[in-house]
């Protein structure tokens, strides 16, 4: 557990100093918003009807960029060898990287929500607690698979191509569950209606986490 924290700390520190991923991701989110606006046109009802899907489209597209980069930093200066040579359980590295990705996505999602609220003049304040729960469960699922597949594809030549091709079909359940739960939350239905989806998300998160923890050491070998 302590070694997982060290990995998180190292990644957060280097991200704070370079702001490489975060800056690009925030601007990418802003660009996405423009694309959504151009695609849907000025009509407000259409934006509101498509909002749950748009939000998650934004998150998954930002996630594809963020998760795919998880292990790229480790390829410089032989950091990968350093990770492989770390004594003890390799799943701590997986947990650390996963936590780093979840943190990064939390920031991006917060920014994206604010941008949506400003540009489409929406008000999320009332549903914020429920929405945060859905976001947390959905993001954990995306990041659990994304971190694992990011490690697999980090060493490949065509990783930019292969990473989305592997990740997107695998996270279909997370996307369906998150979008449906977000729909329930945003439409003002009682939160209990989303219970089934939250359970599905929790189950999916658990399965992905367990598979990730068990198999990560085999991926890391290089």
């Amino acid at each position: 557990m302590r070694r997982a924290w060290i990995v998180v700390w190292k990644d957060v520190l280097s991200e704070c100093r370079s702001k490489e991923s975060l800056n690009a991701l925030v601007f990418f989110s802003l660009l996405l918003l423009f694309v959504f606006q151009f695609a849907l046109g000025p009509e407000r009802a259409r934006v509101e009807a498509a909002l749950p899907g748009l939000l998650w489209l934004g998150f998954i597209l930002a996630g594809l960029l963020a998760f795919g980069r998880t292990f790229l930093v480790e390829r410089e200066n032989d950091c990968w060898e350093g990770l492989v040579l770390t004594p003890g359980d390799k799943s701590a590295i997986y947990l650390g990287k996963l936590a780093g990705n979840v943190l990064l996505m939390a920031v991006v999602e917060a920014v994206l929500l604010v941008l949506f609220a400003v540009f489409f003049s929406l008000d999320f304040t009332g549903v914020l607690p429920a929405l945060s729960l859905v976001l947390a469960l959905g993001t954990l699922g995306l990041a659990a698979v994304g971190t694992l597949f990011g490690a697999i594809t980090a060493q490949l030549r065509a990783r930019e191509l292969l990473f989305p091709v592997l990740l997107l079909p695998a996270v279909v359940p997370v996307l369906l569950g998150s979008v449906s739960a977000t729909q329930v939350v945003l439409s003002g239905q009682p939160f209990g209606d989303a219970a089934q989806w939250l359970k599905l998300l929790a189950a999916a998160d658990l399965v992905y986490l367990v598979v990730g923890l068990l198999t990560f050491e085999f991926v890391l070998e290089g």
């Binding site: 279909v172 359940p173 089934q196 599905l200 189950a203 198999t215 070998e221």
Partner: protein, 216 residues
Amino acid sequence: MAVRALGWLAGLALVAGLVTAFGYAPREAVQGNVQRIMYLHVPAVLTAYLAFGLVFLGSVGYLLTRRPGWDRLAMAAAEPGVIFTGITIASGSIWGKPTWGTWWTWDARLTSTAVLFLVYVGYLLLRGMIDEPDRRARAAAVVGILGAANIPIVHFSVKWWRALHQPATILGPGPSPIAAPIALTLFVNWIAFTLLLLYLLAKRTEIARLEDTHAG
């Protein structure tokens, strides 16, 4: 020798499957001859699931033992698995056009089968991009394990997604109480497809083994 015998057996069974599907099974009352596609469709999807189960088995086996034989099993099962899933989707589509009036509909089963297809196409693409055998086997095994663990989650998510948004609008009468000749024909074709899968597996693992010994 045993492999060759298996090949002949599979060939004979496929002929028997064709004969029963077109000669023995009765013409379905409501759907007519179109229903005979079922004798391709159902065995194909059952065989595909068996193949993906073997991918999972091979993947776990490789990670536990690191013996290349397990990886060859996973690879040899994934390829026909994708083909059989493709046959399932294509034959279902051809059946759907006259029966439902559309080539494709976002029905729960169609969608989850399509997702399954994409997952394992990704698996094969990944295999194609790594040259070093051990690294390829490990990476593929992880994707194979996650893909298999994902099958029930995909199934339920897609099922609920359809159920919550709109009730099933489709599905023709279907042969709900399956008549004995139809069931028997399905069974013969299912045996034939399973034999075919086993034959392909035996051939493919043999080729992969020869490749491995001559490459290194």
